[in-house]
Symmetry: C2
Subunit: 443 residues, 2 copies
């Protein structure tokens, strides 16, 4: 399979069969297991009330940003030009997005559907309660935001990629429906689609000095200081009261978030080996190693040091996790060269063969969104006398992590963070209750 | 070569011959080139004035940290115990370091050498001017600090690893000299050593909105806000003055730093694909992709998107760059499995063979400290329709990078950062003038 195909595989959002260490038979078993999470509807789906959640375009952001500096539209144009960026390019992208949103809204209203258009910043639990279905109009980031407020497995979410030129849209409908949205609606009404229940991750936190209050990084717009303050208020209060030390050991609490892509655990500027963690408060821009202990499926605890730990869903296996684990052709070529040299076998080293091996390796990193398993990956493991590393990645039902970090966070889908410092223990698992109901249309 | 040997190779600080895509003949050429950077001294080296720069131990840091919270030593003990950390362990490490420093200082004074013991925070250009030689007493981090203030290629630096149990000490003398320092001194006096001139990296910055004022992350102890403020004062002033937009294009300026390990360029929390760069000011804890353009050895500019870019020296090829590029046995095994499956050849897949291939692959990532070449590595490249990736890593004499980032930094040896946002251009190269004079003792 060529690289082009591999990219298409990712872009279309198709379910990829997991072949990680798998035989063909095992692949078939995975297909059967996968189908259990996807369902042909008994009848069409015709929501009465639809919320359309829209992203903020870069153009809108730039305008707001420079408005503070007192610059006019002309000034903005000049400034961007000097940087080599294109003002007209930004405006064009903005208009494409806006037009696509209009197209979606018009299509919905022409079918008599009650539509509420909601900007990213206005999207909340009330909107979720009101809507029969929610459409995300943006890219994958907007889909993650939309999903983050949907905790029920019954509320359907549909992603439409409003800027296919710029956004990969893994979580969105196939690109052709962006300008042909009425077709998508017709298929929904006629039941010509499948439900796909995407498994999500849940997290229990316990241990000393934890703070289960999430910090929403998108809405709060905190500086690093404010962020740390928000996290530490509870912990600091406990520390200053006499005899309070005994009170900070907490029982496990289930966090009010569900991860659609991944949980990433690491030092705030993960990660480097060189600088000792205790310098963290001056090192907000330094890359420090993340220290932690990990137990997979109730196995023995293992001390590790790395650039961080990613635990992803099938949906997330195409996202950050994929980039952490992906191999470049250059690396594959070098491995095969060395294998040839050391074995004396005539292993092919032509471009085409290397591409095939690389693509097969990388495709196996992706697994189905309705798969009940987690994939844990250690980013840049540091192996030396002290820290062992049995496996760099693997599947699991449950992963427990005990932090030995100084200023680390657990980041959920890149949008919500939890303090995760020395002594905190996270139990990461999946439950069928946490599924997200999404739509699969044939292309 | 077993993994143990590979680790020893790193720990001993031996020069490794670069075999990246190399034939045996090419390896020999590299050896000759390498020897040019290392020299047997004509006579012994007997400095009159030696500065000993010491690290801050974690114990010292903890004490200072909790002193602010008003905790007693007993409280500190309890708090650490609850977190599963060991108070007595920290104290032990602190004492080991302190004793080793005493040993070094006594050894020097017993030879009639004028010794100044300087804490990390007190080390400055005046100390460098005063000293005939500087000893770094700590780990690799302390060596980087010591080197950062030495701009002359004539001032000898010697690293002594004061806590071999905990620190890798790649930049330090072989571990046995830590408690046998008089032997090291005798060898120095008798000329039984080699000078090793470690090549360092220099950076020119130019383009719009740059600020050539470095921010020292160790000494300043800035919050993120203060850090950004320090960087932006100049740029903001320029923006607010009418007609000032034309004045912000700067001529190339040579930064007052030399990198001993590497330059790392990336978004402040590099790096993820999902979130658009314009959200940076709320995303200080999010991982965003770094966007930039790169030109190697005056080649064509290439747009890239990744988790960041590392450009390292031979010295640094054992540090962060190594962790970015290193392969786990699990990955090598999978590549060989796929290679076997697709070629039909009986490629060995036993543990021993996989270990050999893995070790050979990883060893080739390391090259000699006196090598005049840079090694650039792209961390987690993101390849899609827009962004190409010809090579994930390679050698060069010069690398130019044009930032397309929003809140990125260029971090030198993990200790000094420079703002590197949209429009800034960095030219990264090496000059013989920038060498750092260090000592190699036989083990």
């Amino acid at each position: 399979m060529s690289r082009g195909s591999a990219v298409n595989l990712l872009c279309l959002g198709n379910r990829a069969v997991s072949v990680l260490y798998g035989s063909p038979l095992r692949s078939l078993l995975h297909i059967s297991a996968h189908n259990a999470g996807s369902l042909k509807p008994r009848s069409g789906f015709r929501p009465e009330k639809v919320a359309v959640v829209t992203k903020t375009t870069r153009y809108e952001f730039e305008q707001q940003r420079y408005r503070f500096a007192g610059l006019s539209e002309d000034d903005l144009k000049q400034l961007l030009a000097m940087k080599g960026s294109s003002y007209s390019g930004l405006l064009e992208r903005h208009n494409i997005h806006t037009n696509n949103v209009e197209h979606i809204v018009k299509s919905l209203r022409s079918k008599g559907i009650n539509v509420r258009v909601v900007k990213r910043g206005e999207y909340d639990a009330e909107v979720v309660r009101w809507a029969d279905a929610i459409i995300s109009a943006g890219g994958d980031g907007t889909m993650l935001l939309v999903a983050s407020k949907v905790l029920s497995k019954d509320k359907p979410i549909v992603g439409v990629n409003t800027d296919p030129e710029r956004s990969e849209g893994h979580l969105c409908l196939p690109v052709r429906y962006t300008r042909a949205f009425p077709e998508a609606l017709d298929k929904l009404f006629r039941g010509e689609f499948r439900w796909l229940w995407r498994q999500r991750i849940r997290v229990h936190l316990e241990g000393t000095g934890i703070n289960p209050a999430p910090v929403d990084l998108h809405e709060q717009q905190l500086s690093l200081e404010q962020h740390n303050q928000a996290h530490r208020n509870t912990a600091a209060d406990n520390q200053r009261r006499p005899g309070a030390l005994h009170e900070t050991v907490s029982k496990p609490c289930l966090l009010p978030v569900r991860s659609l892509n991944e949980i990433f655990i690491g030092e705030s500027l993960s990660s480097r080996e060189k600088f000792k963690p205790f310098k963290h408060h001056v090192n907000h821009l330094l890359h420090r190693a993340s220290y932690y202990e990990i137990s997979v499926d109730d196995g023995p605890w293992e001390k590790q040091k790395s650039s961080g730990l990613s635990i992803c869903t099938g949906t997330g296996s195409k996202a950050w996790s994929y980039n952490i684990n992906k191999l470049a052709e250059q690396a594959v070529e070098e491995v095969l060269k060395i294998g040839k040299f050391l074995s004396g076998l005539d292993i092919p080293l032509n471009r085409e063969f290397i591409e095939r091996v690389t693509d097969r390796y990388n495709e196996a990193l992706v697994f189905a969104p309705d798969d009940r398993r987690l994939l844990y990956s250690i980013r840049e493991p540091i192996v030396n006398r002290v820290f062992s590393n049995s496996r760099q990645r693997g599947f699991a039902s449950k992963v427990c992590v005990r932090s030995r970090c100084w200023d680390a966070c657990m980041v959920v889908d890149g949008g919500t963070s939890f303090e995760f410092n020395d002594g905190a223990i996270a139990t990461i698992s999946m439950s069928g209750d946490d599924q997200l109901r999404t739509v699969v249309l044939q292309n």
